[in-house]
Amino acid sequence: MDSGPSGLTFLVIGLFQGAVYGLLAVGLVLVYKGARIFNFAQGEFGTVAAFVTFALFQQGGLPYGVAVAGGLAAAVVLGLLVERLVIRPLFDAPRITVLVATVGVALLVVAVTVLVAKPEPRVLAPALPGDPITFAGVALIPQQFLILAVLAGLAAVLALFFSRTNLGLAILATSQDVLATRIVGISVPRISRLIWAMAALLGGVAGILQAPLTIFTPGFMTTTTLVPAFTAAVLGGMTSLPGAFVGGLLVGAAQNVGIFYLQRAGIPGASELTVFSMLLVVLLVRPQGLLGKVA
């Protein structure tokens, strides 16, 4: 192996980067599974949670746990607001209209965070402090292992939630046939509220865990993480939670290996190009994804 960073190094970096995508993808899959909506505002749940956590912890001086709880609560409140003000009025609208609406929500939240938070760079303290651990020639901070663990745990727990609990089944039922669901006595608005609260919570978790890895600015999740996360979700089958986990790791790995080879060849924008190629190939060749079932 040569002295410079090798392909393997990039692969390891990519897998951990992919965990970040997977974490956001889990929330995207949840909303799609429960409401058949592509939620382009998912990243903003994370951004808002990260900003509130930062404000409470670094500026308010509260304990880290309390700050995180505050950040997650803010995300959930935002999720419920979005559900009530934007999603519910569009219950009968075409899904593409709802998609444009979630884009609008994302733009609105970005504009508000710019207004409130001023565009200055911020660094959030990691949840797991400690020295970097060297693994396969890559220095990884404990936070990155935490992200991987949380992602695996969430994917497993949510998969069980949908397959084993009545509430999970009720959510699936709502996404398949609203009228029939109402006839058997399930409250559709209640399910809708639940989905968006859960999605916002997951988005918040993703944001708070991702923020310490970068210097974060308003809209950072939407600009850097949203498209790879969607690609991860599509790769996993869009409705499969373990799929989001696997898809996330694959996208991260492919992206960084792509950067390794394309950048060496002098092609700019290597990571966007790799993500786009993956998305295109999956949708053309295997639209049901790797772990999804044919709808």
Binding site: F38, L108, T231, G269
Partner: protein
């Protein structure tokens, strides 16, 4: 509406209103100052982009969240053409343009056409993908494609000059902002005509059919593949030309101008304008082009004191307003500006102005708008004769208000058909809302 025929006075009023409107648009570049001519040019450029988005989303029922790919490729192509074909000299050391007047007018026009063609090629490539991938997934693909264009294609050094960008000077004939505003308005007029003919043609009817239901359309013999590609091709051409105009507008082209947020603004201006409504899209686009410029010029770095937030730069309020308008349009007024304009369109085409009480109420915004514009003009100290214009605006608003009140009272005395008793919401809104993504309100 059937059986309604305007009287002789009615026809005269309609012709007069239409000519006043046309004359106002045509004389605008002469009346405005140089900076504002530049705003007007950008409004026309945005209107072309809005029409382009409208062809893909409003007419063909597809979605494009990556329009910066087509517009950007047009801008870079035009810059490339004036550099190599049109030929102008740059300082070999600094890269600065030495003599802009060297750009030939013919080189400018060749650049515009070639930009349109490259936009077409790129859009057709994406259109081929759209034949296989539909709906939400297409939205995702277009978004991702736009990012690739922004980071990979626009940073390709030999073609675009890399991150520093490329110079795109105007030829001497269009060097003044006033002349350039006329160029942009003229091209917009051509494309408005093209769009109108497209909708009225066999292709337009085919698009109506497959945007409602693709499978049924192809069953009854509509060539969905061909017309979908045609929609992408025409939209790509418009976007490419708009890109070229934008490049020359700014006199420089760089990848940063074509980022994701810009592409999303272009989608939201078409939605707020009202997908499927030509006039609505033009007005919506012009608003989104001029408003941020107006805000930063008028505020000039001034700040606003918001309780709890402290000082806030006024310019930063414009993205907030854009996103807010989008959500308001989608959830409450799905037809956008186009739907609000419907009574005026119908009246200009020879129909009655108002057919229900609700329409009369909705039109009350119009005199309100006149009052607002009149106030702005009167308050603007730089403009000569402002008091006269303010008075004209006031009288016009008063007349309009009185006419609307009369119409409202007349509608009050009329029996409404049963189907309309459900009020302004009801079927119209549902249909229009169903059309927001799949198309616009039915023509």
């Amino acid at each position: 509406m059937s059986g309604f025929r305007p009287g002789r006075g009615g026809v005269a009023a309609r012709v007069a209103a239409a000519s006043v409107l046309a004359a106002a648009v045509l004389s605008l570049p002469l009346l405005l100052e140089s900076t504002q001519d530049l705003w007007l040019a950008l409004a026309a450029i945005y209107a072309i982009i809005g029409l382009s988005v409208n062809i893909i989303t409003g007419h063909a029922g597809q979605i494009s969240l990556g329009h910066q790919a087509f517009v950007g490729i047009g801008a870079f192509t035009a810059a490339f053409v004036v550099r190599t074909v049109g030929g102008f000299q740059t300082d070999p050391v600094t890269g600065l343009v030495l003599a802009p007047e060297v750009v030939a007018t013919s080189g400018f026009w060749i650049g515009i056409v070639v930009a349109g063609v490259t936009g077409t090629v790129m859009a057709v490539l994406l259109g081929l993908v759209a034949l296989r991938i539909r709906g939400l997934y297409l939205a995702l693909i277009t978004l991702s494609f736009g990012l690739v264009a922004e980071t990979t294609i626009f940073n390709w050094r030999a073609f675009t000059g890399g991150g520093a960008g490329a110079a795109a000077p105007r030829p001497a004939a269009f060097a003044s902002n006033q002349a350039y505003a006329y160029v942009c308005l003229a091209i917009l007029a051509v494309f408005l005509f093209v769009d109108w003919r497209l909708v009225r043609s066999r292709a337009g009817r085919a698009m109506v059919a497959f945007r409602a239901e693709e499978r049924i359309a192809s069953t009854i013999g509509v060539n969905v593949t061909a017309y979908k590609l045609l929609a992408f091709a025409v939209a790509g051409f418009l976007a490419g030309v708009a890109g070229a105009l934008f490049g020359h507008w700014n006199q420089a082209v760089q990848a940063l101008d074509f980022d994701l947020r810009t592409a999303l603004v272009w989608v939201l201006m078409a939605v707020v304008g009202g997908l499927g409504s030509r006039a609505g899209v033009v007005i919506g686009s012009a608003f989104f082009a001029v408003f941020p410029l107006y805000l930063s010029a008028a505020a000039g770095g001034a700040t606003l004191e918001i309780p709890g937030l402290g000082e806030v730069l006024i310019q930063t309020l414009s993205p907030l307003l854009g996103a807010f308008l989008l959500l308001l349009t989608i959830t409450l007024y799905p037809g956008g500006i186009g739907q609000q304009l419907l009574p005026i369109r119908r009246w200009l085409a020879g129909g009655p102005l108002v057919t229900s009480r609700h329409e009369a109420l909705r039109l009350a915004g119009l005199p309100g708008l006149v009052v607002l514009v009149g106030t702005l003009i009167t308050a603007d100290g730089a403009m000569a004769g402002r008091l006269g214009m303010g008075a004209v605006a006031g009288v016009a608003a008063g007349v309009m208000g009185a006419l609307l009140l009369l119409e409202y009272l007349r509608q009050l005395g009329r029996k409404r058909p049963v189907a309309q008793k459900r009020g302004a919401g009801g079927p119209t809104v549902a249909v229009a809302r169903a059309g927001t993504a799949a198309g616009g309100p039915a023509r």
